[in-house]
C-alpha cells in the first residue's frame, strides 16, 4: 500500500531543519553585527542579548562584558540600561560559572549577583579570550537546553567575539584619549590658575612685542584699569625708558632668553616701579620668534632698601671727607697756635745772635772809619799809597776784624738754623700723602722750635738710635713731639723746683716699627685723669696756656692716621713717659 501523504524522509527533514537553523543563525549573526555596527553605546549589548534570547527561545538572557574602560557591565534582555558591576561582583560571578570549556549547560544555580535564576542555564564565553572578557547566559524555566543549543550559542559567541574585541580596543583607545584629555584639561586649569593667580606679572607678547595676554598681577604692576588697556599694545608703552625694551628685544632675539633684566615700569600715576624680568622666546619651525613669555617681579622694595644703604654710605663718606678736612684744618690751626705760643721764645732765640751781630756790625763800622781816617791822613790827599804807616796798628785791627767775622758767622748760622728748623717743623704735608720722614731730624727741629720753652726749666738728654726713614706725615709727627715736649716743660716749670728738670728723648728701631719715648721727671699725671688726657678740650693748664686739643690731636695723628700707638705711663723714678710706636711702612692702604 502506498502512503498518500508526501513521503516522509527523516534525513531530508533533518537536513532542511539544519539548513533552516543555519539560515536563522546566519540572520542572527548578521543582525548581531548590524546591532553593534549601528549603536556605539552600551545599549547595543541589551539589544544583542534580546536578539539571542529570542533566537534561542530563552526566558532570560544576560550579556556580560568588560569594556575598554575596564567597566564591568551586565546587559540583561528586556531592560533599558546596562548594569555596572564592581570588580568584586564580576570576579564572584565568573567564579560561580561552572565552565570547563568555552560553553556549558548547567542546572539551577544562584549567582552572587541579583539576577533571575531559571532552572536551566546555557552559557558561552567570547572565545578565544575566555570568560575574563565577557560571556553570555541564557536561561530556560520549562525544559533543558538541547544538544544543538550549546554549539549554536558558542558559534554566535565566536561571531560576536571579534566585534566586541574591536569595540573594546576602540573603547580602550578612547578611554586613553579621554584620560589624556582630562589630564590636559587639568593641566590647562592648573596653568591658567598659575598664570592668573601668580603674584608676579606673567605676560605673553607676539613677534612684534605686542602684548597678547597678561595676568591680574600684571594689571596691578602696570597700574592699568583693565586688560584691554594693555593687550594689543606694544610692551614698550609699559616701560619708562622705551630704549630699555629695545635692548631687551635685542638680547632675547640673540640669545632666546633674558635673565634678571631690570627696568622701570611706566605707570599712569607716575609712580616708578622697579621690575626684574625673566623671559624666553618661543620660536616657530623656521626659528623665528613666535611668542615672548615673561615673568616680571616688582623689586621696588628691594631697590628702596638698597637706595637707603647707598645713601647712608655716600652720606657717611661725605661726612668722613668733611671730618678729614676739618681735622687737617684743626691740626694746622693747633700747629700755628703752638708756633704763636712759642713765637716769643723763638724771637728770643733769634734775638741773641742778632744782638751780637748788631754789636759786631757797629764794631766793624768803627774799625772801618778808623782805617779810613788813617788812610786819608797817610796819603794826605796825594792819592798815592803812603810809604810808611803804623804797621802794628793795622795788624791788630785786622786780627780783631777776623774775630768779629768769625763771631758773626756763628750768629748767622744760629739764626739760619732756627729759621730752617722752624720751616721744617711747620711743614704742611700739602700733598696729603705719606712721604719719607726722618724722625731723629724731626726731633731736632722740634727741639729747636721749643728750645726757649725748655732751656730754662729742663736739660734735654737725647739717646737717638739709628732709624730707617718712615712713611709718615712729618709735619703731623713734629706736632705731636712738640705737644709732648711743651707739656713736659710746662709740667716741670709748674713744680717750682729749685733746679732744672730732665727731659729724656729716646728713639730705637724695633722690627718693622720705630719707638720714640719722651720722658720727664716732672710731677706725673694723676691716675684719676690719665684716661681723659686724650679727650678733646681736656686741659689742666690755666686759661690761655692750652687749647685742650694738643693730646687729642696727637692721639688722632698717631693712632688713627698713622696706625701707630701712643701710650702714657709713669716714668721710672717719677714723672711721665710717653711712648710712640710708628710702623716704618706707614699705615696700610685704605680699602
Amino acid at each position: 500500500m502506498i502512503d498518500p501523504s508526501p513521503s516522509f524522509d527523516p534525513m531530508r527533514e533533518r537536513t532542511e531543519r539544519e539548513a533552516e537553523r543555519s539560515t536563522r543563525m546566519l540572520r542572527v549573526a548578521v543582525e548581531l553585527c548590524s546591532i553593534f555596527a549601528r549603536d556605539d553605546s552600551e545599549n547595543a549589548g541589551i539589544e544583542a542579548i534580546e536578539c539571542l534570547r529570542l533566537f534561542f527561545d530563552a526566558d532570560s538572557g544576560y550579556l556580560y562584558r568588560c569594556n575598554g574602560r575596564n567597566e564591568y557591565l551586565c546587559c540583561a534582555a528586556g531592560v533599558d540600561q546596562p548594569i555596572t558591576l564592581s570588580k568584586l561582583q564580576w570576579q564572584e560571578l565568573t567564579n560561580f560559572l561552572p565552565m570547563t570549556s568555552a560553553s556549558s549547560r548547567f542546572g539551577p544555580r544562584s549567582f552572587a549577583v541579583p539576577i533571575h535564576a531559571p532552572a536551566f542555564w546555557l552559557a558561552s564565553c567570547f572565545p578565544p579570550s575566555g570568560c575574563g572578557g565577557g560571556f553570555v547566559l541564557l536561561g530556560k524555566n520549562s525544559e533543558p537546553w538541547g544538544d544543538e543549543d550549546e554549539p549554536a550559542l558558542l558559534s554566535l559567541a565566536w561571531t560576536l567575539s571579534p566585534i566586541l574585541e574591536a569595540r573594546r580596543g576602540r573603547e580602550r583607545a578612547m578611554g586613553k584619549r579621554h584620560q589624556a584629555e582630562a589630564v590636559l584639561a587639568t593641566n590647562e586649569k592648573r596653568l591658567r590658575a598659575f598664570f592668573e593667580e601668580s603674584r608676579d606679572m606673567v605676560y605673553t607678547s607676539d613677534a612684534n612685542d605686542i602684548v597678547t595676554s597678561l595676568n591680574a598681577a600684571g594689571l596691578v604692576l602696570s597700574g592699568k584699569p583693565g586688560k584691554a588697556a594693555v593687550v594689543g599694545q606694544p610692551f614698550s608703552r609699559l616701560v619708562l625708558n622705551p630704549s630699555d625694551r629695545a635692548l631687551f628685544l635685542r638680547k632675547i632675539r640673540k640669545e632666546g632668553f633674558v635673565d634678571d633684566y631690570e627696568f622701570i615700569m611706566a605707570r599712569p600715576d607716575d609712580k616708578p616701579v622697579f621690575c626684574l624680568e625673566n623671559a624666553n622666546a618661543v620660536r616657530d619651525a623656521e626659528g623665528r620668534i613666535a611668542e615672548i613669555q615673561g615673568i616680571i617681579k616688582d623689586i621696588s622694595e628691594r631697590i628702596r632698601s638698597e637706595r637707603e644703604f647707598w645713601k647712608s654710605n655716600l652720606e657717611l663718606a661725605e661726612a668722613n671727607l668733611k671730618l678729614q678736612r676739618t681735622q687737617v684744618v684743626l691740626v694746622q690751626k693747633e700747629r700755628l697756635a703752638s708756633i704763636g705760643q712759642l713765637a716769643a721764645g723763638i724771637a728770643h732765640e733769634i734775638n741773641n745772635p742778632l744782638g751780637f751781630l748788631k754789636s759786631n756790625h757797629t764794631m766793624l763800622e768803627k774799625y772801618f772809619r778808623s782805617m779810613k781816617k788813617r788812610w786819608h791822613e797817610g796819603t794826605a790827599g796825594s792819592g798815592t799809597m803812603p810809604a810808611a804807616i803804623d804797621r802794628g796798628g793795622i795788624d791788630r785791627l785786622f786780627s780783631e776784624i777776623d774775630g768779629v767775622f768769625a763771631e758773626s758767622d756763628e750768629g748767622f748760622v744760629r739764626i739760619m738754623g732756627i729759621v730752617a728748623n722752624l720751616k721744617s717743623f711747620s711743614r704742611e704735608d700739602r700733598s696729603g700723602e705719606f712721604e719719607h720722614y726722618d724722625l731723629n731730624g724731626g726731633i731736632e727741629s722740634t727741639l729747636s722750635v721749643a728750645w726757649n720753652e725748655i732751656k730754662y726749666v729742663a736739660e734735654v738728654r737725647k739717646e737717638l738710635g739709628e732709624l730707617p726713614p718712615l712713611r709718615a706725615k712729618g709735619g703731623e709727627i713734629n706736632q705731636v713731639i712738640l705737644n709732648i715736649l711743651v707739656n713736659a716743660a710746662q709740667a716741670i716749670e709748674g713744680q717750682k723746683r729749685p733746679g732744672k728738670g730732665m727731659i729724656t728723648i729716646r728713639t730705637a728701631a724695633k722690627a718693622d716699627r720705630v719707638i720714640l719715648e719722651i720722658g720727664d721727671d716732672g710731677p706725673g699725671i694723676p691716675e684719676a685723669i690719665r684716661n681723659r688726657i686724650f679727650d678733646p678740650f681736656f686741659t689742666t693748664k690755666e686759661p690761655g696756656k692750652g687749647t685742650g686739643l694738643g693730646l687729642s690731636i696727637s692721639y688722632d695723628i698717631i693712632v688713627a692716621r698713622h696706625k701707630g700707638n701712643l701710650n702714657v705711663a709713669d716714668a721710672p723714678g717719677g714723672g711721665t713717659l710717653f711712648t710712640i710706636e710708628l710702623p716704618v711702612a706707614g699705615p696700610p692702604p685704605q680699602e
Binding site: L240, R307, W310, N313, L314, A317, G432
Partner: protein
C-alpha cells in the same frame, strides 16, 4: 698712568664688547666705560674702578665718562656708588661726565644724582 693703562687694557681684552678707555686730561685721569651695566658686567666694572682708584695718588681726580653706557641696572648703580665711596676714602675726587639722559633719570629717581660731582667739561 702706565699701570692704569695696563689695567684698562686688560679689562678691555676680557670684555671686548664693552671696552674701557683711559686718557690723561689736564692732570686728571679720564676713564671711558661702555655697554650695559647689568648684573653680569657691574661686578667687573666695580673691580676695574677699584683698581684704577687704588692706583691714583690722593688729590688726583678720576673722571668717569659714561657717554657709551646705555643701560644701568641696580647692580650697576651699586658699583658706581661703591666706587665713589672708595674714591672719597682715598681722597680721590670722583667725577662723572656725559651721563645719558636715560642713565641720569635712573640716578635721579633714586635720589642719588647729587652725590656724583659733574665734570666741569660736561656739556
Amino acid at each position: 698712568m702706565i699701570r692704569i693703562t695696563q689695567i684698562v687694557d686688560r679689562f678691555s681684552a676680557l670684555h671686548p664688547e664693552t671696552p674701557a678707555s683711559v686718557a690723561e686730561e689736564r692732570g686728571r685721569v679720564v676713564l671711558g666705560l661702555s655697554g650695559s651695566f647689568d648684573i653680569k658686567l657691574a661686578g667687573e666694572v666695580e673691580g676695574l674702578l677699584a683698581s684704577v682708584i687704588d692706583q691714583l695718588e690722593a688729590g688726583r681726580s678720576l673722571v668717569v665718562d659714561l657717554a657709551a653706557v646705555y643701560y644701568v641696572s641696580s647692580t650697576g648703580i651699586g658699583a658706581l656708588v661703591t666706587s665713589l665711596v672708595r674714591a672719597q676714602r682715598r681722597n680721590v675726587p670722583f667725577l662723572v661726565r656725559n651721563m645719558t639722559k636715560k642713565v641720569r633719570s635712573v640716578f635721579d629717581i633714586l635720589g642719588l644724582l647729587h652725590f656724583f660731582s659733574k665734570d666741569e667739561s660736561d656739556d
